[in-house]
């Protein structure tokens, strides 16, 4: 039986009943500003600290910018640079994905190239933990809905074949829980974690819910979280058992 990959994020592993089942492919969905990039970055950081090579592919921003943002938000995590330097934690931007940036702008870049480029980097880094942030750009790359479905499937299949444990972030149009709906491609993933943002200004509340996590008896309770310089803190109420 496969083991679990601890996220190392305070409170989240309790919700996950230990962690993410190894080699699972997870989608982390939420509206803008919910903390998808930071949460997935912390997952990689914590795993890199445990000696698991981790790589993040950012397809919407420059890698350096994402890294700087993460260091700014997690100012208490002093060893990010060390992990980057020793190669156990990598943030790869479009420029690193084999000229994808330029090709994408020229609309000549195909999804298949994207997958093979990602595969090459994962092999080169010997990574076992992977984040792709985010899938929104890929949807722009493949406009036909059926082709997009097949392309996403090809991506998930490839990650599965490579044996990595991965998180793919997905952008939702709404922040509110009630107006969110699941997208067809979510079916492909072994797990779905949703991030919600509710309330206004100083009463803003962030919470998360594990919709599914195949192979795991996880919590179904929507749980608030906070982002601090020391990382995420998920206020998991372990006393609650639902089923």
């Amino acid at each position: 039986m496969a083991g679990v990959v601890k996220t190392g994020i305070l409170g989240l592993d309790a919700m996950l009943n230990g962690g993410i089942p190894e080699k699972n492919q997870i989608v982390l969905a939420g509206g803008p500003g919910a903390g998808k990039t930071l949460l997935s970055f912390e997952f990689l950081y914590r795993n890199a600290k445990q000696g698991n090579n981790s790589v993040m592919f950012v397809v919407e921003e420059e890698a350096e910018k994402v890294l700087e943002n993460a260091k700014g938000a997690f100012s208490g995590l002093k060893d990010i640079d060390d992990l980057v330097k020793n190669g156990s934690l990598s943030v790869e931007g479009l420029s690193a994905v084999s000229n994808a940036s330029e090709s994408m702008r020229q609309s000549s870049y195909e999804f298949g190239n994207f997958i093979s480029d990602i595969e090459a980097i994962i092999a080169d880094k010997k990574a076992t933990r992977v984040v792709i942030d985010s899938t929104a750009v890929l949807e722009i790359l493949v406009k036909d809905p059926l082709m997009f479905r097949k392309s996403m499937l090809a991506l998930v299949v490839d990650l599965r074949r490579l044996g990595v444990t991965s998180i793919l972030t997905a952008e939702m149009s709404s922040l509110e829980k009630q107006s969110l709906s699941f997208r067809p491609e979510f079916f492909l993933f072994d797990g779905i974690i949703m991030l919600y943002l509710s309330g206004e200004e100083e009463k803003r509340m962030q919470s998360m819910e594990i919709i599914k996590m195949r192979g795991s008896k996880h919590s179904f309770v929507t749980t608030p979280y906070d982002i601090s310089p020391a990382g995420f803190k998920v206020f998991a109420a372990e006393e609650i058992t639902q089923e």
């Binding site: 079916f187 492909l188 509710s198 608030p224 109420a237 006393e239």
Partner: protein
């Protein structure tokens, strides 16, 4: 020289004293923090300087004692999460009403309703339908779905439970009660509910993921078809696939049920051959079945090529799965079935043949 040595000694002494002072101060700070956390609680927490330490300290006391008033000493977000944590603890009578953030308050009622199986609290959750559905799922009780006034939601709720029961009890006939609505919102809701009811159960993973995969690639398929698909695989009964309307899914179901039957040892070449020979009106179907099983038993793809389209597809599909080699999928002439064959192999098994054929 002597004066320089004395100066160095004096400097070293000073450094040692500074270091000792720093160590003492550090130990005192740690001790003060520990004392603050343990000296009877709240007042000790309030003496902590760092707001985050203060919040952590207060929240530990509040949750361990169930004292809501301690939460009120914290600032906004922490106060509400503190209330939330206490309210969720089912053994205490604390109330979600104290939470000032309306969304979190709704989540609190939702969690409490589902945690205690008390559907009357769903009214306060802000997500009544989902709340009642989850309680119904937990109790595996379709009659509770009757509390949902929205007919679509009630149908989704009941269908999910019927599907669960049909699969769990190995009763494919019960799939007829599952909704046949092929709209994405309906079947996806049922499948997510079903996934939830089967959370942690890995025995269905293969048939679940392959049938979901088929639904994903086909774009439109009813939950009832998925129910038949999974049931055919589980009961190793190919005839169950005949109830599926979509031809591609029906064939795919048949292939998969055949493989499941073959692996279970139930599909026996000698037995089928004996049955066919004892039947004077041995049909082409019977002969094709024999050839199919012989091809699979002997890993002989040449035989697959001699069969008609349906049996040929089934034959190549089964060989591909058995030998973990997607090469054989390439001989399936139906494009959709070929695609599903290739994808399902790596999707389910993480095994793609890398050698030569």
């Amino acid at each position: 020289m002597a004066s320089k040595t004395a100066a160095r000694d004096s400097k070293g002494e000073k450094l040692r004293i500074y270091a000792a002072v720093i160590v003492v101060l550090f130990v005192l700070a740690v001790a003060a923090n520990a004392i603050a956390r343990n000296d009877g609680g709240v007042s000790g927490c309030m003496r902590l300087i760092q707001q985050s330490s203060k919040n952590d300290c207060l929240s530990q006391i509040a949750v361990s004692t169930g004292n809501l008033s301690v939460c009120s000493l914290m600032n906004g977000t922490y106060m509400n999460t503190c209330y939330y944590a206490i309210s969720l603890n089912n053994t205490r009578s604390a109330n979600c009403a104290v939470i000032t953030n309306s969304s979190l308050q709704g989540d609190c009622y939702y969690a409490k309703a589902t945690g205690t199986q008390n559907y009357s609290l769903c009214n306060l959750s802000g997500a009544y339908s989902s709340c009642v559905m989850n309680i119904s799922f937990s109790q595996k009780n379709a009659t509770l779905c009757g509390f949902l006034q929205n007919k679509t939601n009630a149908s989704v709720c009941a269908s999910t439970i019927y599907m669960y029961n049909a699969v769990k009890d190995y009763k494919p006939s019960a799939c007829s009660q599952v909704s046949d609505n092929a709209s994405y919102s309906t079947y996806s809701s049922i499948l997510y509910g079903f996934d939830r009811m089967y959370a942690g159960n890995s025995s269905l993973n293969v048939s679940l993921s392959t049938s979901y995969l088929a639904a994903y690639l086909q774009g439109s398929i009813s939950a009832r078809s998925i129910c038949y698909f999974i049931s055919a695989y589980n009961t190793k009964n190919v005839s169950v696939c005949g109830s599926i309307g979509n031809a591609t899914i029906r064939n795919y179901c048949g292939y998969y049920a055949n493989i499941s039957t073959y692996h279970s040892g139930a599909l026996n070449y000698t037995q089928i051959a004996a049955e066919c020979s004892s039947n004077s009106s041995a049909s082409a179907t019977c002969n094709s079945s024999i050839a199919l099983v012989r091809a699979i038993s002997t890993d002989n793809a040449t035989i697959c090529g001699t069969l008609g389209q349906v049996y040929s597809g089934a034959c190549y599909f089964a060989l591909a799965q058995k030998l973990h080699n997607p090469y054989y999928c390439g001989f399936i002439s139906n494009t959709s079935e070929n695609e599903i064959c290739v994808y399902s192999m790596s999707y389910n098994q993480s095994q793609v043949y890398n050698g030569t054929v």
